[in-house]
Symmetry: C2
Subunit: 190 residues, 2 copies
DNA sequence: TATAATCTACCTATTGATAGATATATTTAA
DNA sequence: TTAAATATATCTATCAATAGGTAGATTATA
């Protein structure tokens, strides 16, 4: 993302916020103009079409999320605690009244280019792999039961996060998500 | 929903399909006109604003879903099997390339009237209560462990369904959702 | 005839997008 | 070291298409 200049990043910041709160089809170049303080034509200069914007936005988001995951891994060596930290990230997003960007874009999948769809799959796979690694670590540390299928459990934890987030945001109740993720961790404990 | 005539129902059918595939903000009255074969002005006759349309659409959807739940309950007296049947309903939706209507609307929550938001909460609560009842039954039948918190587990199962559906649809892989729900049921087995 | 349903015709606002002018840096060549 | 050339970034002005919505005429039905 080093190739994007300051203005382009500010545009993505606003687009990202709109996407996570209202959805990708719920804001216009004019909305971006009003908030960034640069004309719509200038935004088209950086992102010729809205689909280009979607792609750059999701790429930047994935990069940042990946960095967050690495950061958790570096700070926390206990598998189970890593999973709990991830849940906290999701809970915090709900607290801001937002939804996961990729979850949001996933709902608009049919109006987005194939390149974006592909990135969304990458995103989900990236988290799933990270979760699977944390579970494996948990098993090695004797905190997690060996009787589970690691890949399926990783998918299951991710699904709980995304779905719990969706419902918790609707209810405006972050604790709803927290309770769910905690329960999953209890269920897979040794 | 008895007060709606044939045309109104056909409009809702198309709106429902668009909502579950593309999202509520991704279709117009003109789209409905083209598919239903009646002018946009006639659609405005039944649904003065698009928000009115959203409300009627979600009300009808909830009624139908409620009927499905009742139908499962009537046909299946084993708690665990009821839960599995519900999962199959969700898997079938993914097979059609669709997402849960209320999950879809939940992502557009900020551009929808309060009345719709309220209905979405009702919807999630309705399923959660139904799931909780099935779990209770499962416990009574000695199929489900007593050590779980029923309400939280119900929320957890619902979240897995919604989130798993979202991801499975993105991957175009219905089996992904099936694997997740099966795993949850295994985890709560006695 | 009165009501319900549908139509034609139109409106205003907004959408994503483009053309072309202009200003400001940056690089290149004399 | 200037001066010219080029690239970058922003602007004004505008476009055709589409959005949701309305007024009022017309047709079908009870």
């Amino acid at each position: 993302m080093a190739e994007l200049n300051n203005t382009a990043h500010r545009v993505l910041d606003v687009a990202e916020r709109y996407t996570q709160t209202h959805g990708f089809n719920a804001f216009s170049y004019k909305d971006l103009q009003n908030e960034v303080g640069v004309k719509t034509s200038s935004i088209h200069y950086y992102f010729p079409t809205k689909q280009d914007l979607a792609l750059k936005m999701v790429e930047r988001y994935i990069d940042r999320f990946n960095a967050s995951l690495n950061s958790i891994s570096n700070e926390q060596s206990i598998g189970l605690k890593r999973l709990d930290k991830l849940a906290q990230v999701y809970v915090d997003v709900v607290k801001q009244g937002k939804f996961c960007m990729c979850g949001m874009l996933a709902s608009d999948i049919l109006s987005l280019p194939e390149a974006v769809k592909s990135k969304l799959c990458d995103f989900f796979q990236m988290i799933e792999d990270w979760i699977a690694e944390a579970i494996e670590l948990g098993i090695a540390q004797d905190d997690v039961t060996e009787s589970i299928d690691i890949k399926t459990t990783a998918a299951h934890y991710l699904a709980s996060l995304e779905g719990g987030m969706l419902i918790a945001r609707t209810k405006n109740e972050p604790a709803y998500l927290k309770a769910i993720t905690t329960e999953v961790l209890v269920l897979i404990k040794r």
